[in-house]
Subunit: 190 residues, 2 copies
DNA sequence: GCGCGAAGTTGCAGTCCCTGCAAACTTTTA
DNA sequence: TAAAAGTTTGCAGGGACTGCAACTTCGCGC
């Protein structure tokens, strides 16, 4: 994975062959494919295998807690994990940004987790499993997290990822009003 | 495109080769690739080449109109176009649902348009082009539209797509409160 | 140390996606 | 009717990916 990321960052993903990656990693190309189904998978990584744990945490949160804070709380440990693997993720996001074909793949990985989250949200709210709202809530919050990560990567990890996610959730909770952005910055302005 | 959709629907995308598609369409495989960069492109289609027009309409809407209604209005003609090509899109969405690998591609097509919309939103609100909010608003609304389309396809196009999009935007505007869903249905309940 | 089975690694053959190039073919224009 | 412009096609080839069978590696009881 590191070999793939490094080479893709240096030369661009399509100018790197699986043969080169495997050579850099000291394995045969065949072995590469024993671990990654596709070349792209070596860049994206196993992914936020958080599906289960996020859902578990979401279900464990008391029902009194409003939806958005509950989701945010359930997500927090994952976010912190991202920050812990800061360099890995910044490199990964840079490569993804330079190879737009990868972004959709990143999204689709989240889609599975979102599907599961949707079910958790439905049970939380006592809605039928096939209601539109839980799905919508899951995909929208997932998008918010992803946007925050992009933003984080765009600023080279200068800001605090968790804070960015909070901002994004704030906008979401506030009904997409610009005023709800950057609450802490606006505090300083008043 | 129809040949590709038909065959993919019948057998599953990975059990159809480009050679078969081109044969069904009475062209050579080489010609296929003159029109579609990838096999997947034949399924997804040229796509919502609405990028420009949606932005234009958004910029043309008076600034007094709140953001969400403005975006909804700018989107409406496209949505209606989807409904007009109902069968095409329902088939397409079914194939996409059966081949999850395609979903990311659909998303990425929208991503370009979203990027442009973000700029339009920024100018509309008088925010700097690199502000977080416009990007967030563009990706969130894009996600809402996509979720509505999925929902529409899931119900086999039974409901009204535009109405579903309105519901999704309502949830978005209402800060992700379940109460904001299905306003017209709730009317009947009161 | 020695067989032995499980697990991991590799090579090979083959399919399919996709590309550049140049030759044919078709249509338009003069 | 001949040249120009636009399309379609075949061909050669690179690279992703898979199934299979052989080969190494490693731990373990003897």
């Amino acid at each position: 994975m590191s070999a793939a990321l490094r080479l893709a960052d240096e030369r661009g993903l399509d100018h790197v062959t699986v043969e080169e990656i495997s050579e850099a990693a000291d394995v045969s190309p065949r072995t590469f494919f024993n671990y990654f189904a596709t070349k792209d998978d070596a860049i994206i990584g196993e992914q936020i295998a958080d599906g289960p744990s996020v859902c578990d945490r979401l279900l464990a949160t008391p029902v009194e807690v409003p939806l958005i804070p509950a989701i945010l709380a359930a997500l927090t440990p994952e976010i912190e994990q991202f920050q812990a693997d800061r360099d890995l993720w910044l490199l990964r996001m840079r490569v993804i940004k330079d190879n737009p074909a990868l972004l959709p793949i990143l999204v689709s990985r989240g889609a599975v987790a979102e599907q599961e989250s949707a079910v958790a949200i439905a049970t939380r709210l006592g809605l039928p499993a096939d209601d539109f709202f839980p799905l919508l809530a899951a995909t929208l919050t997932g998008t918010a997290v992803r946007a925050a990560m992009m933003r984080w990567a765009d600023t080279d990890g200068a800001g605090d990822l968790l804070e960015l996610v909070r901002e994004a959730f704030g906008v979401l909770a506030g009904g997409l009003q610009p005023e709800h952005l950057n609450p802490e910055k606006q505090k300083g302005n008043r």
